[in-house]
């Protein structure tokens, strides 16, 4: 996540300002390679090599028996990829369902955790409040705990007779059976306005083998509980990033705009928000990259059920390989997911690199604020 410093360092390359001269480092070349050797071996053997192996397996129909690198394994070319996109069948339907689920998941998780993190950061950053460091730790603590352990807690919270439904019944609401409820939230909303069954126009013919009605289901009730868990665990981390960003907003700037008669909202909207724009961008992109990787929670809480509405590409690739023993197809799903995440990462790094080279915002308040006062 150190992407900001990271890109800066990466672009700086190997140029070392402290050039030392003299004959002491005659064997520095050898020492350098010896020092990095363990890391190269481990990362090479368990990261790069496996990716290449999986790339090969994704072109085969290996079923887990014997070695995938013998002549006995049927080579199928790009078939595992094409069946995800162009061939009508179960593989494409499951994959597209997982993509749909994850899109809704991203669409809720990313804005929710960003707004919550920013809100928490603003409160914790308030100079007038005491005991902030306790609350800062409290908000952050869920982020450092085990995803599996936390999922167990949330399974209990969202159980049929669990804490969430107990809380809802205080408000007179009859809570759903969270993990058995596959109804999409958008479908429920349509139902609330009288559209219970798909209108003829949406009943079939949607892209990639799912009907328009299916695409428009929204996250299922079960998915909502996973979304709640994830927003709850990740907001703390992003709050700390926002706090770091807020600390770069000069106090004098805030005071100057107060003297100008700017309201609290105006100050937030026209001073704070523009100043922390880079942090917001970082949080949004990191959130998107992270949300495409949701796996542990799905594994522990729902295993893709009910009715495949919590299936995500990450979990589907696991399930296809290790439960259905279709390693080729599972690997192909992994690589499509890899592609999605890499594209998001590249967009992020490109944008951050651009920001580092020209900073249009830096002089902004110096120019504007004095004019107004």
């Amino acid at each position: 996540m150190a992407t900001e410093t990271l890109t800066a360092a990466a672009t700086a390359g190997g140029s070392d300002p402290r050039r030392r001269r003299g004959g002491i480092r005659s064997n520095e070349n050898l020492a350098g390679w010896l020092f990095v050797a363990p890391v190269i071996v481990i990362l090479g053997l368990f990261l790069l090599l496996p990716i290449l192996m999986a790339l090969w397996v994704s072109l085969t129909d290996w079923n887990g028996q014997g070695s995938p690198f013998t002549g006995d394994v049927p080579f199928v070319g790009a078939h595992n990829y094409t069946q995800l996109f162009t061939e009508d069948g179960l593989a494409r339907r499951d994959f597209m369902t997982s993509i749909r689920n994850n899109i809704y998941y991203v669409a809720i998780v990313v804005p929710a955790q960003t707004v919550l993190a920013l809100g928490l950061a603003l409160v914790v950053n308030n100079r007038m409040l005491k005991g902030k460091s306790f609350f800062r730790s409290a908000f952050y603590f869920p982020s450092v705990t085990s995803s599996v352990a936390i999922s167990v807690v949330f399974l209990f919270l969202f159980a049929n007779s669990g804490a969430v439904n107990a809380l809802l019944s205080f408000l007179g609401i009859d809570g759903p059976e969270w993990f058995a409820d596959s109804r999409g939230v958008l479908h429920l909303l349509f139902g609330a306005v009288g559209v219970d069954s798909p209108p003829a126009a949406l009943a079939d013919g949607g892209p990639f083998g799912l009907t328009w009605w299916d695409w428009l289901a929204g996250p299922s009730v079960a998915m909502i509980s996973i979304i709640t868990l994830v927003v709850w665990t990740t907001s703390g981390t992003f709050m700390l990033m926002f706090l770091a960003g807020l600390q770069n907003v000069p106090v004098t700037l805030d005071e100057a705009s107060t003297l100008d008669g700017a309201s609290r909202w105006q100050r937030f909207r026209h001073v704070t928000l523009p100043m922390i724009r880079p942090t917001t961008f970082l949080v949004l992109t990191l959130g998107m990259i992270g949300s495409w990787q949701v796996f542990d929670q799905v594994y522990v809480m729902s295993q893709g059920d009910p009715a495949k509405t919590t299936l995500t590409p990450a979990y589907l690739s696991y399930r296809t390989a290790f439960r259905d023993f279709d390693y080729g197809s599972g690997a192909a799903i992994s690589f499509v997911l890899f592609l999605i995440i890499i594209v998001l990462t590249l967009i992020q790094r490109r944008a951050l690199a651009e920001r580092d080279t020209d900073r249009p915002r830096r002089g902004w308040w110096r120019r504007r604020v004095p004019e107004r006062s």
């Binding site: 150190a2 002491i24 690198f69 599996v148 167990v152 522990v300």
Partner: protein, 295 residues
């Protein structure tokens, strides 16, 4: 803007309004803090409370943190009726080995990338940055393939060795070593100390804060690690805590919901990280601010 028109007369009233507003803000601020404090901490309170309840009590009063009657039956069953002790042992072993390995190997590599000038260094560092962007979940099948091929599947080696180094740790150490003044090392080197000796006895002691950060991150990361154990072992004797916990929940235990037991097991798995979090909090916070990712 209206304030500017008749400042002298309006000043006291404005001050009063301001004081009232400050008070209101402060009240609102505390209310928000307490509300969200509850949102973020109460689930843990519920977890502790319900782990000490009987099963019917947990089902009937899930919101209440007070067990009635209080019972340790859940915990007794964790130790008597599940493989929890075994998982705990495996987790400890994996965590200790991985943490030692990461701290040592990542510092070595970080030091070389920061200080030693050798051919290919720039390319290697670019590779480290690239590796950091590789998402863990797409490595599930690849890791299984390589462990299977190397005959490490279903072994302690398979559980530990792939985690012994991580790109993010190398990155953290490199950044830190670059911030240390170079003069001390030069003095040592001129005195005739070897490169490793200089690294080991001169540079490393100065890198204590970064080493503590890396130790904590590695501990937390490997203690909580779940997907890797999922694709590297299958034998229940090799399960780590998160794996065992996941297995417990997905129902190999059968009969009933057994929430007190499950919550208790999850609680025990959380405690070590919680202790470390409380003691070394500032290192956690700094990490999040630098924003280094698990890689």
């Amino acid at each position: 803007m209206a304030v500017l028109t008749d400042r002298p007369a309006a000043a006291p009233a404005r001050r009063q309004r301001r004081a009232a507003r400050t008070l209101a803000t402060r009240f609102l601020g505390y209310a928000t803090l307490v509300f969200f404090g509850l949102v973020f901490l109460y689930p843990f309170v519920i977890q502790i409370g319900n782990a000490l309840k009987t099963e019917p009590d947990a089902a009937a009063n899930p919101l209440s943190p007070f067990p009635d009657p209080l019972t340790l039956a859940g915990f007794e069953r964790i130790f008597a009726g599940t493989n929890f002790p075994l998982w705990l042992g495996n987790s400890l072993l994996v965590t200790v080995l991985v943490t030692i390995g990461r701290v040592f190997f990542d510092s070595l590599a970080g030091y070389a990338l920061a200080r030693l000038r050798f051919r290919g260094r720039g390319g290697l560092f670019a590779a480290v940055i690239a590796v950091m962007a590789v998402p863990g979940v797409v490595l599930l099948i690849p890791k299984f393939l390589v462990l299977n091929q190397l005959g490490l599947y279903n072994s302690y080696a398979g559980l530990v060795v792939p985690l012994l180094a991580d790109a993010a740790g190398v990155f953290i150490m490199k950044q830190f070593f670059e911030s240390i003044p170079v003069s001390v090392e030069e003095a040592a080197r001129i005195d005739g100390a070897s490169i490793f000796r200089t690294f080991w006895s001169v540079v490393l002691p100065m890198a204590k804060p970064a080493l503590i950060t890396l130790t904590i991150l590695s501990f937390q990361g490997s203690w909580n690690e779940f997907p890797h154990s999922l694709v590297s072992v299958q034998d229940p004797d090799l399960f780590t805590l998160p794996r065992g916990l996941a297995d417990l929940v997905s129902g190999s235990l059968g009969k009933g919901t057994q929430y007190p037991l499950k919550l208790g097991a999850a609680l025990l798995a959380t405690i070590p990280v919680a202790i470390i979090f409380v003691v070394f909090q500032r290192y956690f916070v700094r990490d999040a601010n630098d924003g280094s990712d698990k890689g």
